[in-house]
Amino acid sequence: MKIQCNDIDVQIVATCLHGALQELGYGGATVATALNGEFVPKSMRAEAEVREGDRIDILAPMQGG
């Protein structure tokens, strides 16, 4: 199915957020996630269902002032 990951259209087969992260190359990375603009804690990713057209945001530590 087609979803948006960090504003880029991608195709995945996973149906949960945890699976989507694995499939998109973020396995083991220190990231925080949001599904359709709502924060999803790491402990809830396996239960967070991803559907066609959903929007995932994957954020990581970055330099800041």
């Binding site: 990231v31 925080a32 949001a34 330099q63 800041g64």
Partner: protein, 258 residues
């Protein structure tokens, strides 16, 4: 006496931003040379392939300093609160430098949204460091919302203008004698940081003035020394300015040789 922020004792009164350095190695050396205890960090979208964020996270761990995540670039309460939740999970800290930006040219805070976001986050157990103005009414509402630190801007972010309104900053110091006050944004020179500390400010948060200096490592050290000097001067109770001269050499005993 050392600085205490939300019960955490810190030796250094310089909080340092981690953005815009010429290289990761320079950032690391600047952190060490400035002897800061706290660095600010952010969250941004991560690519699944280049993993820049992971490399930065490794560098921070090497630096062995406390991190203060920010909500930079957030223009709404919801965006700032969601970013704070994500930051708490990644950085494993209740500290959040809360920015709700209200205007694009000056990057001034949306103080109405700021108070609302501060209340939400404080009720959720966050320890909020609000990027605010020198307005006393807003500051009082932030304290009422649960903030135990206030961070007024000195001038627009990255402008290097220094203390645009020292009288208002002085009033803020006088009005909140028991709240740690940190100058956040607009400092360009160590002398400006020293001036804020001489007024009784508890600390200074800097980024651009150090990172964009010709030699960030030396500038980091220069700011650390200026901030320490300013704080020592404040504690030593500076002389008040007066309009007329006052002779420093004793008049008593002077020979009249006319």
């Amino acid at each position: 006496m050392s600085l205490q922020l939300y019960g955490i004792e810190l030796e250094s009164r310089l909080l340092l931003g981690t953005s815009q350095y010429p290289s990761p190695a320079v950032l690391l050396d600047t952190i060490r040379e400035s002897r800061t205890d706290v660095v600010t960090v952010s969250l941004r979208r991560e690519s699944g392939t280049n993993r820049n964020g992971q490399a930065f996270w490794s560098l921070l761990r090497e630096a062995n300093v406390r991190v203060l995540p920010n909500t930079a670039g957030c223009y709404s309460v919801k965006e700032a609160v969601t970013t704070a939740h994500m930051a708490r999970e990644i950085f494993d800290t209740p500290w959040i430098k809360l920015e709700v930006i209200g205007e694009n040219d000056t990057l001034g805070p949306d103080v109405i949204g700021l108070v609302e976001a501060a209340r939400i986050l404080s009720e959720e157990g966050f320890e909020v460091f609000p990027y605010t103005t020198d307005d006393l009414v807003v500051a009082a509402k932030l304290v009422d919302a649960g903030c135990r630190v206030l961070m007024p801007l000195a001038s627009p972010i990255g402008s290097a203008q220094g203390l645009n309104n020292p009288r208002a900053l002085g009033r803020m110091r006088g009005h909140f004698p028991d709240i740690p006050l940190i100058i956040d944004a607009g400092i360009g020179l160590p002398s400006q940081a020293a001036a804020a500390m001489e007024m009784g400010y508890d600390a200074v948060l800097l980024n651009t003035a150090v990172a964009k200096a010709g030699n960030p490592i030396s500038m980091g050290r220069a700011f650390a020394l200026a901030i320490e000097a300013g704080h020592l001067a404040y504690e030593a109770q500076p002389l008040l300015a007066r309009d007329m001269a006052s002779p420093s050499t004793p008049v008593l005993g002077k020979a009249w040789l006319d």
